[in-house]
C-alpha cells in the first residue's frame, strides 16, 4: 500500500541468556524460524517462555547470546535504521502529551523525516485504523481499543515492513479483542506486512496466522510449527468451523506436551 512492502525474517539458531549476578538465566535455546515476506506468524506459548524476548531480539532491542537474526537480509540494527520495524506492545505506550496525530507522526520526526508527505502519511494511517474523527484527541480521552489502534498506526508509520506485535490485544476486553483481530487482518490484507504476533490465546493464533510457532518453556524453544490452512479473508463465526476446532486441538496438544516436561 505504501510501497515499502514486506520483508523476510530469518531466525537462525538463536539462543539468549541473561546474566543474573553469578547466575545465568537461559531464556531461549536454539530457536530457528524462517518467516516469509508478507507472512503472518504467531508465536504461541505460556507466559515466561521467552516470546517477548524473541520479539525484542528480532527488533534489535537486545542482542542474541549466540545465533543470528536477519531482517530483509540485514541485521536488526540496520533494519531499525531503515525504519523497517514496527513495534506494538501490550500497553499502547503512546506519549500522553501528544494527540493521536502527533503520536503517529513521531516515527516521521525521528531522524528528521518530517514534511508534507509525512502529514499525508499520518492522515492516511489514521484513516486506515479508523480513527479519522479522533486525530486531535489525547490518548487518555480514548478507549483501550482506540489507543491500541493509534499504536498500530504509529507502528505502520514511515513504512515498517515487519510488524512485531507483543500481545497487542492482551489488555482489551474480550469483545473489543475479537473485533480488533479482524480489523488487524483487514489492515494486513491492505498493507501486506510481515507480521510476527505474540499471543497466549490459541483461538487468536488460529484466527490470525498463516503459521503458528508453538513455544515451550525453560529454556524457551519452538516445540512445533503448525500451518493454518484456513481460507482468507477470515471472518467471525469461523471459530465454530470443524477445521478451526481441529487446529485449536492440535495447538492445545502441542502446548500441553511442552508444559509436561
Amino acid at each position: 500500500m505504501n510501497g515499502y512492502g514486506s520483508a523476510r525474517v530469518e531466525i537462525m539458531d538463536v539462543s539468549k541468556s541473561f546474566d543474573m549476578g553469578d547466575d545465568r538465566l537461559d531464556v531461549l535455546n536454539d530457536v530457528s524460524l524462517d518467516v516469509a515476506r508478507g507472512e503472518f506468524v504467531c508465536l504461541l506459548g505460556p507466559s515466561g517462555c521467552g516470546k517477548s524476548t524473541l520479539l525484542r531480539l528480532i527488533g534489535g532491542l537486545i542482542e542474541p547470546t549466540s545465533g543470528q537474526i536477519r531482517v530483509a537480509g540485514r541485521s536488526p540494527t540496520e533494519a531499525q535504521a531503515e525504519k523497517a520495524l514496527g513495534f506494538v506492545f501490550q500497553e499502547p505506550a503512546l506519549l500522553p502529551w501528544r494527540t493521536v496525530a502527533a503520536n503517529v507522526r513521531l516515527p516521521f520526526e525521528v531522524n528528521r523525516r518530517r514534511g508534507a508527505s509525512c502529514e499525508r502519511g499520518v492522515e492516511r494511517l489514521i484513516n486506515l485504523v479508523g480513527l479519522e474523527h479522533y486525530s486531535d484527541y489525547y490518548p487518555r480521552q480514548l478507549s483501550g481499543g482506540m489507543r491500541q489502534r493509534a499504536a498500530l498506526a504509529r507502528a505502520l508509520a514511515v513504512g515498517a515492513r515487519v510488524l512485531l506485535m507483543d500481545e497487542p490485544f492482551g489488555s482489551l476486553d474480550e469483545i473489543t479483542r475479537a473485533a480488533m483481530r479482524y480489523e488487524l487482518l483487514k489492515i494486513w490484507d491492505a498493507d501486506s506486512k510481515t507480521v510476527i504476533f505474540v499471543t497466549h490465546s490459541i483461538s487468536e493464533a488460529v484466527t490470525l496466522s498463516d503459521r503458528v510457532a508453538v513455544m515451550s518453556s525453560r529454556p524457551g524453544r519452538i516445540s512445533g510449527v503448525v500451518d493454518i490452512d484456513l481460507p482468507r479473508p477470515r471472518a467471525s463465526g469461523m471459530e465454530r468451523e470443524p477445521d478451526f476446532l481441529s487446529y485449536s486441538r492440535t495447538l492445545h496438544d502441542l502446548l500441553l506436551q511442552g508444559g509436561m516436561e
Binding site: 525484542r56 527488533g59 534489535g60 532491542l61 540494527t77 531499525q80 535504521a81 525504519k83 520495524l85 514496527g86 513495534f87 506492545f89 500497553e91 499502547p92 505506550a93 503512546l94 506519549l95 500522553p96 502529551w97 513521531l106 516515527p107 520526526e109 525521528v110 531522524n111 479508523g130 480513527l131 474523527h133 479522533y134 484527541y137 489525547y138 487518555r140 480521552q141 478507549s143 482506540m146 504509529r154 507502528a155 514511515v158 512485531l164
Partner: protein, 274 residues
C-alpha cells in the same frame, strides 16, 4: 468510532471545566474565611488586652504601615524577589543540567550525587556569612544562597523524572534508532516534567527563604534587611508589614507555578479534568 461516544466525551470535558472552577472556589473560600476570622479575632484581642504594639501589633497597624508606603515595600520586595528568582533560575538550571548528566550515566551519578547530598545536609544559613565575604554586599551572595537552596530538590526530582520513562515508549523510540538526544527531548523531558514541577513548587518558596536569609547577613536592601532593622528598632508594624509582603509574594509565586504547571501538564493524570 461511534459518533455518540464523541458527544459524551465533549460533554464530559465541559462539565469537567465547570467542576474545576467550582472546586477552585471550594478550595479557596474556606481558607480565606478562616484568615478573615483569624485576623478579626487578632484585631479584637490586641484592642481588648492592650498588649503593647512593640510585642504584638494589631493587623490594622501592620496593614496601615503597608498602606502608608506601598512603594517602599513593593520596591524592597522587588529586590528580594529579583534575588530569589535569579537564584532559583541559577539553581534549577544547574540542577537540571546535573540531572541530565546523572540520568544518562550511573558513573556520573555515583561521582556527583554524594556531593549533592553534602550540599543538601549542610545548613545554608551556615555558609551564608561566607558568601558575604566572598561575593560582597550586593545581590550576588543572596542569589547564590537562593540557588543553593533550590538546587537539591530540583536535582533529585530531575534525575528521577528523566529516568521515569515508559518502558514501551522507550523501546519504541529505540526500535526507530532514535538518537539519545531525540529520546531525551521527545521522551525524557516531557516524562520528567511532572517531577520537575513538583520540585519547583517546593523550590520557589525556598528560594525566597534563601534571599531573605542572605539579606539578614549583609546589605541594606530587600525585605530581609527591613525585617532586621525593624526588629532592632522594635518597629513591629514595619516588621509585620514586611512579613505580609513576603507572604503575598509566596502566594503569588506558588499560584504562578501552579498555573504554568496546569498548562504544561494538561496531559498528566494529576491534572485530570474528567
Amino acid at each position: 468510532m461511534i459518533p455518540s461516544e464523541r458527544n459524551v466525551e465533549g460533554r464530559a470535558l465541559r462539565t469537567g471545566r465547570r467542576r474545576a472552577l467550582a472546586s477552585a472556589l471550594a478550595y479557596s473560600a474556606p481558607p480565606a474565611a478562616t484568615l478573615l476570622i483569624g485576623g478579626l479575632a487578632w484585631e479584637l484581642w490586641t484592642r481588648l488586652s492592650a498588649v503593647p504594639e512593640y510585642i504584638v501589633p494589631a493587623p490594622s497597624a501592620a496593614l496601615g504601615r503597608l498602606a502608608s508606603d506601598p512603594a517602599y515595600f513593593a520596591g524592597e520586595g522587588a529586590v528580594t524577589l529579583g534575588e530569589a528568582l535569579a537564584g532559583f533560575l541559577l539553581g534549577a538550571g544547574v540542577a537540571l543540567m546535573g540531572a541530565t548528566l546523572m540520568a544518562h550515566s550511573r558513573f556520573i551519578e555515583r561521582s556527583l550525587f554524594p556531593l549533592a547530598i553534602l550540599v543538601k545536609v549542610t545548613p545554608v544559613v551556615a555558609v551564608a556569612p561566607l558568601f558575604v565575604i566572598w561575593f560582597g554586599f550586593g545581590p550576588i551572595p543572596k542569589a547564590l544562597i537562593a540557588a543553593l537552596i533550590t538546587f537539591f530538590p530540583v536535582l533529585v526530582n530531575g534525575v528521577t523524572g528523566f529516568r521515569s520513562v515508559d518502558r514501551g515508549a522507550l523501546d519504541f523510540m529505540r526500535s526507530l534508532r532514535a538518537s539519545r538526544l531525540e529520546i531525551f527531548l521527545k521522551l525524557r523531558v516531557p516524562s520528567a516534567a511532572p517531577f520537575v514541577f513538583a520540585a519547583f513548587r517546593v523550590a520557589v518558596p525556598l528560594s525566597v527563604i534563601g534571599a531573605v536569609v542572605g539579606e539578614w547577613f549583609s546589605g541594606d536592601r530587600g525585605l530581609g534587611s527591613i525585617i532586621i532593622v525593624a526588629h532592632s528598632n522594635l518597629d513591629m508594624p514595619t516588621l509585620f508589614a514586611a512579613i505580609l509582603t513576603l507572604s503575598a509574594m509566596g502566594v503569588a509565586l506558588t499560584a504562578i507555578v501552579s498555573a504554568v504547571e496546569r498548562k504544561a501538564l494538561f496531559w498528566h493524570e494529576s491534572h485530570e479534568e474528567l
